[in-house]
Amino acid sequence: MASSTPRTSTTPRTSTPRTPTGTPTSLTQRSRTKGGIGESTLRPDGTLKVTGEFAYSSDMWHEDMLWGHTLRSTVAHAQIRSIDISEALAVPGVYAVLTYDDLPTAVKHYGLEIQDTPVLAHGKVRHHGEPVAIVAADHPETARRAAAKIRIDYAELPVVTDELSATAPGAPLVHEGRDDHHIGHVPHPNIVHRQPIVRGDAGAAAARADVIVTGDYVFGMQDQAFLGPESGLAVPAEDGGVDLYVATQWLHSDLRQMAPVLGLPDHKVRMTLSGVGGAFGGREDLSMQIHACLLALRTGKPVKMVYNRFESFFGHVHRHPATLHYEHGATRDGKLTHMRCRIVLDGGAYASASPAVVGNAASLSVGPYVVEDVDIEAIALYTNNPPCGAMRGFGAVQACFAYEAQMDKLAAELGLDPVEFRQLNAMEQGTLLPTGQRVDSPAPVAELLRRVKARPLPPERQWLTAGEAADVRALPGGLSNTTHGEGVVRGVGYAVGIKNVGFSEGFDDYSTARVRLEVIAGEPVAVVHTAMAEVGQGGVTVHAQIARSELGVTQVTIQPADTQVGSAGSTSASRQTYVTGGAVKNACEHVRERVLELGRRKFGTYHPAWGTAELLLESGKVVTDGGEVLAGLADVLEDEVVDLELEWRHRPTEAFDLRTGQGNGHVQYSFAAHRAVVEVDTELGLVKVIELAVAQDVGKALNPLSVVGQIQGGSLQGLGVAVMEEIIVDPVTAKVRNPSFTDYLIPTLLDTPAIPVDILELADEHAPYGLRGVGEAPTLSSTPAILAAIRNATGLELNRTPVRPEHLTGM
């Protein structure tokens, strides 16, 4: 069944209405049902997860299954002269070895927006680790050994790795003969997309400035480093189709890209979400999905593919590394006059989400500040570096790193307190953004800063006071220190950021929910079915809470996500609680109306309140506004099943003008502020973050426990990129140097400070329940706050992430 077709109920007496649009917030009912929104209810999958029974995508198993393995390029840019698979095919236990030539249809490329990514390399490879061939065998080691016997003759080509090399005269083109819709407005074919934003007259405003500061900033390549590796199981079906059990962020997006390559109609590619071990943007693009299906269809056997950690670093896109040039001016009394910036994002070999990342970086480059005169340009490059795409914060992270450093520089130039300077220029509700869009919901930027600043500082350094009793484990570097604190200095830094919520620039950002209400064993039970990818964020918890609140039932079953229900959109852009949560709420509201109609028909004559009062569903009963019980839900429903599948959309957005950047591009904004306290061992160049306090406006906390978890987790990812995380790409060969958890470091419990969280709930009247997307904003300001604290401690300028010991010791 096509994904957009509403599914009808299996119960004849229930009908499916046409898809309504718009915002149904007026239908909201007050909730007094236990386990509803606003409570910290526990995860429905929690017990399975703590007992080891939860089935992640790498846990899938099928009798008689084969193992798939990918052979990846060992060079970054090369012509493929020949591929010889004969030795690999001859390995006992090998069932299939496939290359580009074996693809079943004329569609041999895929991509989120631009279909430029080959399913398997054809003619050339464009980055280190690009998939070239795939193998299916009866043991994973057999598949690996067979892949190693594939002979590929590469003729290496020169690489482009940065703006200079990519746009130099005669530079090799990463994609020759581009015909995507961005090529007409980019100044060079090695530029994926360019978004300028011009508003006011930055030149004239600069003339009014008393101080002007400029800065060049470098943001390293961060990896999502989700723990559950890319994996899944493809099972060929008798009808010639395939069933895929996979960890992804958006089932329907995968399906849209996969089906044409496989040469199958959508309904023959049945996708089911299996357990997802984190995502953070790294599962927006396809990884093993098509490969596993190709092998399953070719061999007629189920095929499981599981990347190891090494392969995972090549199997997904990373956060765009960036270079950013900023200029700000301010008057003596501390008001910003203008901002000019140029942001260059390295998109790597394939486009992935780069065009959208460019739009975000440009439109959020000014940060949460009022600056009327701006001249902004953001571009993403095609290079032979690893492809970059979505990661938590999506273009806003890199900009925040730079503009917050600029705020500190300006404050220092003016002799003002950095927090007060930010507050003086903070945007608020009603502020006009550089894109011309007015912020039409609360924007408590100054208040968030006030809250983190007002929090008492952590106790003074114990090295100064505790003497022999000081716990040296808490020193920067822990037990491996060589000082006992004498070379350790403390610093405090602040930052705040702005992130858009949901998909922007005119994208049709909808979600679908199917809600069924019926009586099972005498109890009313709600069943919620969406295609939302639960990647750990807790969407499944919140959906059950929404259903309890809206339908007044305690028992809610969340169906596994699959493509048998319409698209939910991506679990990214902090959008799922808003959009799929909104869809569940909307569907519940229509179910509730249907139930009340049923009740009026059955019992309307017995009590006048059925005809007049505003009725609520509460704790399994229909009650009046005043709390009088009119009927039990079970009595109203009896053997009726109310079952609806509906789409829901947030307010539409617009594309940014390609010359001026003007347009109502975003639907909602989310704000967080951090205060970081660090201690730096100035002799060894080691940093210990002591505390990372955060304040965030979440509009409405549907599940406070989950909200705090998102904010702390996002903050820690920002800490990671501040002081340790970076994929290092060799600037000469474009090869990845550290694709392992031995060499790509993510924070451990010893690297983690206390992360106290202060939550504001200023409702956004346009959003369901007034909520705001939560997941990404804390990742933005965490990094610059830590950098500011390290600068405060050391007096060093520090214009790149991550900060490494050599940057602190001057080596």
Binding site: F226, G278, V306, N308, F741, L750, A754
Partner: protein, 172 residues
């Protein structure tokens, strides 16, 4: 080769084991016990932490042949193991089929998000609490520093272990 060992108190036998297979592979792919997770298979992330004769190890770094005749405890056996331990100590509160203190605390404290790190963390945390029933925060951080978590920011994990310690103490 054939490998005989005990997993979660039950005798297990794996046949046709290739010499290069890890304990993790045997558990997950041969014995149908996928609770121990395969996040890095290099001993860096702790997601596959099991106890081998009581000692926490990364199952990915243990060669299959090394487990011959030995006892392995995985997350799948944790509740039963902890329950028996508590009964042996006269802490009868944990009944059969009930989650261990540390499992329940992870849920209650919001220490489970995607949950991929959870099995390894639970085995490591339970072992630490067995050795050190009243850990300081520094003790917890040190004991669990070999277990990576990418979702939670670890605060909830610290909370969970503190909570489990408190409940364990209460139960005495």
């Amino acid at each position: 080769m054939r490998v005989n060992f005990t997993v979660n108190g039950r005798r297990q036998e794996a046949d046709d084991v290739w010499e290069g297979e890890s304990l993790l592979y045997i558990l997950r792919e041969r014995l149908g016990l996928p609770g121990s997770k395969n996040a890095c298979e290099q001993g860096e992330c702790g997601s596959c932490t099991v106890r081998l004769d009581g000692v926490p190890v990364c199952a990915c770094l243990v060669a299959a042949g090394q487990v011959e005749g030995r006892e392995v405890l995985t997350v799948e056996g944790l509740a039963e193991y902890a329950g028996q331990r508590d009964r042996d100590r006269g802490q009868g509160r944990v009944r059969e089929g009930e989650l261990s203190h540390v499992q329940q605390a992870f849920m209650d404290a919001g220490a489970v998000q995607c949950g991929f790190c959870t099995p390894g963390l639970l085995v490591a945390a339970d072992e630490m609490l067995e050795r050190n029933p009243s850990p300081t925060d520094a003790d917890i951080r040190e004991a669990l520093s070999g277990n990576l978590c990418r979702c939670t920011g670890y605060e909830a994990i610290l909370d969970a272990v503190r909570l489990a310690a408190a409940r364990q103490e209460e139960a005495i």
